[in-house]
Symmetry: C2
């Protein structure tokens, strides 16, 4: 494999001159530059990443810590990963991926051995074990997901509170007065998935303010349990005319459930979900939903991370906590409440 020494020799210059000719960090005569470039082409030279990392202490690699927790919807995680990966590549960075259960160990390995210039943490929990490790590391980090303590990191998340309000307000405005909210499993919350209750509490509060009855339940993450639970909760609240879903499995199961019960949305029941458009397309879910924008969030995290890595954001520049405003994608599953549910 050709080294810069080979390039220099073929071009008839010194190694340092070859380096400068390629980086452009010093003035080089056109003649020499062209000779160097010709040598590069002739030899098929590509700089050795390890050597460059050693010399510049820049790896041009970003760590991506994904964790696939039980009862969280794996395909959703994939969307975040893709958002991070494609944006990173646009900015010239590669991705070192970890899917280890023990995220702290993976993070420590990556940062301590200086394999990466910065790191993106996905699916950050309320009290995430990885955060102390990240704060102790010399590399900057960006999070997707809102922890209790945001010091020292840049944070991006969907505004789940606003999402909860939006769901309730939307149906209230259409005339609904009794709603059901199906969240993700309760132990996801207990594990630190704060977004579940962030949405739920805000929805509750909005319902209270509007004088709307809201039945909030936790649903399973799998069929057939979630199907049974949906049936049960619809049985339990025959007066409810709107269904809010903050649970991918519930959304995927709902078509069958509604069909079994002979219900149609929005004629008999208005439905609003909270998931990504990609998810909706893959499973062709016909429900209006709050776009969770995983690719966008992942992209934002990477962009900010790269700004910090490249020092455009001075180390002193305050860290950001940015919430993406939820947007309701109308797929026609909401309307005026029926006089009486079938």
């Amino acid at each position: 494999m050709a080294t810069i020494g080979d390039v220099a020799r073929v071009a008839g210059v010194s190694r340092s001159t070859a380096s400068y000719a390629l980086s452009g960090k010093r003035a080089i005569s056109v003649d020499v530059r062209q000779r160097v470039e010709a040598a590069v082409r002739e030899l098929g030279y590509t700089p050795n990443a390890g050597a460059r990392a050693l010399a510049t202490s820049q790896t041009m690699v970003i760590g991506l810590l994904a964790q696939f927790l039980e009862d969280e919807f794996a395909p959703a995680m994939l969307q975040y990963m893709l958002g991070v990966s494609t944006t990173a590549r646009e900015l010239g960075y590669d991705i070192l991926l970890s899917t280890e259960e023990d995220g702290t160990r993976a993070l420590r390995r990556m940062t301590d051995s200086r394999m990466i210039d910065g790191v993106v943490l996905l699916n950050v929990a309320e009290h995430d074990e990885r955060l102390p490790v990240l704060r102790a590391a010399p590399q900057p980090g960006a999070l997707v997901g809102l922890p209790a303590d945001c010091t020292g990191v840049d944070v991006f998340d969907l505004d789940f509170e606003e999402a909860g309000r939006l769901m309730v307000d939307h149906l209230h405005r259409l005339g609904h007065r009794e709603l059901i909210l199906v969240s993700q499993p309760e132990h996801v919350v207990e594990r630190g998935g704060a977004y579940v209750w962030r949405l739920q509490n805000a929805a509750r509060e909005a319902a209270r303010v509007r004088g709307v009855t809201l039945h909030a339940v936790f649903g399973s993450a799998r069929q057939p349990e979630i199907g049974r639970e949906l049936n049960a909760v619809l049985d339990a609240h025959p007066g409810a005319t709107g269904l809010l879903l903050n649970n991918e499995a519930a959304a995927a199961a709902l078509p069958t459930v509604l069909h079994q019960r002979g219900l149609a949305a929005p004629q008999d029941l208005s439905v609003v979900g909270r998931y990504s458009d990609e998810f909706a397309r893959t499973f062709s879910l016909p429900y209006s939903s709050i776009e969770s924008a995983p690719d966008r969030l992942g992209g934002m995290a990477v962009r900010q991370l790269v700004r910090r890595i490249e020092g455009e954001a001075g180390t002193d520049e305050p860290h950001v906590v940015r919430f993406v405003s939820p947007e309701l994608v109308d797929r026609g599953s909401t309307g005026a409440p029926p006089a009486r549910r079938a």
Copy 2:
């Protein structure tokens, strides 16, 4: 950040001695070794990955080239990625992930700049553009998916021919004489997804031998199209009593379709799919299926790749092409054909 020089100084030895004490590649007195180890702990020393890579020309990183092609089921790809990732970690390797559309460029970048010791290619097509690049690279490669030309690489794939035969034989043995096979979209085949017709042709041949009628169709990768197509093909062949699915979207859509038509499996229709158990669990698909074992395939590819990287498999050792035998996971969706389809 502490370097091995710092460790050496604190331990009162030379850099080389510190290095040997840690690697164990030469005899070191217990006294010195303990002093070095103490210094490591005191300073929190971790070797710099770039420097080590430069010195040893081993990065302990494996490239993972995933491509998310249109109309291929993304969550399935994720399962392969997870299989690769977890096995790599078990063997001490990290994963450099590329999801670029232009796989050749990503591959060239990774190999030429020596960021990786080897590479796993997912979703390999019949005539995959990445293969010439891989063969020209100094690093070994392992594929998941069967290309036309396997020289110079290790190949792992599900035995799709056997899978096709197994599906047909299984239903034939139960007494079925007219079957429908729904494959993935035709343009997936045209793009080089040979596994589609490998299964289909073998199923056709098995049907011919057994005297079974087989209606083979290509299905869409999305709802609602695939739902309509399933209805149409069931309408078109009222005598068919068995349904074979080599199409994740079709499997996901089938529960609703069957419900709409008032059919139940296996009473009215026997169903056999071809997807992973993980997929079945996530969407709670009640159909028996040929396990596509993505995690296992990914793991096998990595294991073989690491053997080559670490030279256990001499460079001369012949490359392997290994097919995983399909296994039918019985979820109770097949049985004797009904006297007459409802």
